[in-house]
């Protein structure tokens, strides 16, 4: 059932590529918190290896969307599937993570009492079972993966320092490093550039671009310069639903997007903004 609807959707959207399934599919997803519709009829498809940037004003439902995908909250209705086979609406956080969905939180959430190295060891790809954690030593592949991640995030010489001693930007990088060590299929990155200097932001952008292709990457961002640097395809969320999708220029020149960001124009649109 799940598979067929996924394929149908794929044929409907892009009939020429019907052989390749979507990485992530959200269809008619709804979620409300005590009457507030955080997400309403959200439909979104992600291709494998895509780098998608999601923007939207405050309260557009961006972080809630990530919560729904990662199992932190469950949708009231709708479909969320990974790779046309796994129904994410019925799974726990750790089960979804093990399918290869990794998330970087908005505020850096590394383990501050652990060293940089230990943070990466916790995240590194491999078995999560109690038994293996107790008795199986670190595999060679895991070691090289952790070393690669240390290299990439430039914290190699600080690997034995406590993560709590890192600067804000370095913590952000460490968390990105934890995602890398995990080698996920789908990376969900919530405001990676927040609190970073211009140079750090630029480096983060380059890193994310280099990840696309091997991984599917979803980036939520506010900083438009950063968005312009990395974005291929941008999705604008507004009031919990997709306002429009397209390239950065398309989106920036879109009337509705301008309205949403800069406030309504003289004529109040009847029934709110429609896509």
């Amino acid at each position: 059932m799940a598979g067929s609807s996924c394929v149908e959707a794929r044929q409907f959207i892009a009939p020429d590529m019907s052989a390749k399934p979507f990485m992530l599919l959200l269809e008619d997803v709804n979620k409300s918190f005590e009457g507030f519709h955080a997400i309403s009829n959200l439909t979104l498809y992600l291709d494998e290896g895509e780098l998608r940037v999601i923007i939207g004003p405050n309260g557009a439902g961006k972080s809630t969307m990530l919560d729904l995908i990662t199992g932190r909250t469950r949708p009231d209705s709708g479909k969320i599937e990974l790779g046309c086979s796994s129904d994410l609406t019925r799974m726990n956080e750790h089960e979804i993570n093990r399918l290869g969905v990794a998330r970087k939180f908005q505020t850096p959430s590394v383990f501050v009492d652990h060293t940089v190295l230990e943070n990466l060891l916790l995240a590194v790809e491999g078995s999560r079972s109690v038994w293996h954690a107790l008795f199986r030593p670190l595999q060679r592949g895991q070691k090289t993966r952790v070393e690669e991640a240390l290299e990439t995030i430039g914290l190699k010489d600080r690997s034995h320092e406590k993560a709590g001693l890192l600067s804000h930007g370095e913590k952000q990088w460490l968390e990105i490093g934890m995602l890398l060590a995990q080698n996920p299929k789908l990376l969900l990155v919530d405001e990676p550039a927040a609190g970073m200097s211009d140079e750090e932001t630029h480096r983060t952008g380059e890193l994310l671009i280099s990840l696309a292709g091997k991984h599917t990457v979803v980036v939520i961002e506010h900083d438009m310069n950063f968005v312009r640097q990395i974005a291929r395809k941008v999705t604008v969320l507004h009031q919990g639903t997709v306002l429009c999708e397209g390239s950065v220029d398309q989106v920036q020149n879109d009337e509705r997007v301008r309205e949403v960001y800069l406030g309504r124009k003289k004529r109040p649109a009847v029934g709110g903004v429609k896509c």
Partner: protein, 382 residues
Amino acid sequence: MNLAGKSYGRLEAMVMASCALLGLVIMPVCNAFVPEGHLLHVSGFALGVYGKYCCFAVLALSINLLWGSTGVLCLGQCLFFALGGYAMGMHLMLMIGKLGQYKADIPDFMVFLEFPARYPETGGLPPHWIPFRSFPFALFAVTWVPALVALAFGYFAFRSRIRGVYFSILSQALTYAATLLFFRNDFTFGGNNGLTDFKTILGHDLNAPGTRRMLFIVSVLLLLGVYGLCRWLASTRFGLVQRAIRDSENRVLFCGYSTVHYKLLVFVLSAVIAGVAGAVYVPLVGIINPSEMAPDKSLEAVVWCSVGGRQSLVGPVLGAIGVNALKSYATHSYAEQWPYILGVLFIGATLFVPKGIAGIPEQLKQWRARRALKLANSLPRT
């Protein structure tokens, strides 16, 4: 690449080494070979007291495993301690044989409570007591009874994501309920008198100096063993996950770990450790009754941990031994005031030495560094 947790302080190494030296060599030797009345003589009574402290230290380590390392505060840890104690007590009770007051085959309280009328087919012994005639079975029960209780309680609590103070309150309710249950005479565990008047263990007279010495050595070995186990656990990836759960359980979930499994294993393990400590405690003190599992006992054990310092492994050991030594002294001289002393100790530790006794060296170092900085700033600039 090495995992942290392997680098532990000098203080810890020193304390544990001196524990081993004192407990395994010096004290038994001074007890056995130094004549009575000599300055260096350690009496059998003193050995019993220190053995008791060792059991308390093991109990504190079990709380620390759960609270200090995993962030789960169980206010009912003495339930597991007492369950282990009861399992051992049942065996010792059956070993009294005909030496009791009533010269009967069954323990005295069973005669007194007219059990022969209730269980005529076994001569008055309740059926679940029968296997406790065997010492190996009793030893086995010392571990699996607490483990089973912890498994059942922990499974439902952790699966329902009961955390923090809610878990603490629930665990306190559990131990309170168990206390009330054990107070009942018809629960077949001796009611409020509990189990006492033990005579022999494995055929040896419990009051003989040699037996007391052996029991003391066993308690020291247990302490060292449990300490080693905790140390090893902290050095594995399991220990990493454990501490990560303490600091941010949600983040651990998003790293793909099923925190329920990890917390459950820690909970069961700490219950087993507490149970074993209780089993060694009972022959040392010669009695087990429901007041051992009353909520205030568990609270007291939590105070040992926090006074000693729950961020380290040696802290709970120092706390348990220190606070109990103080208690022995205080209840002797100021019996009425003991609860107040304990309360002040807890508040004082929380306010002034948040990392406990074990954290004092580090705190002093920071204090000195701050003072040096202040001094440097106050000097006139040239």
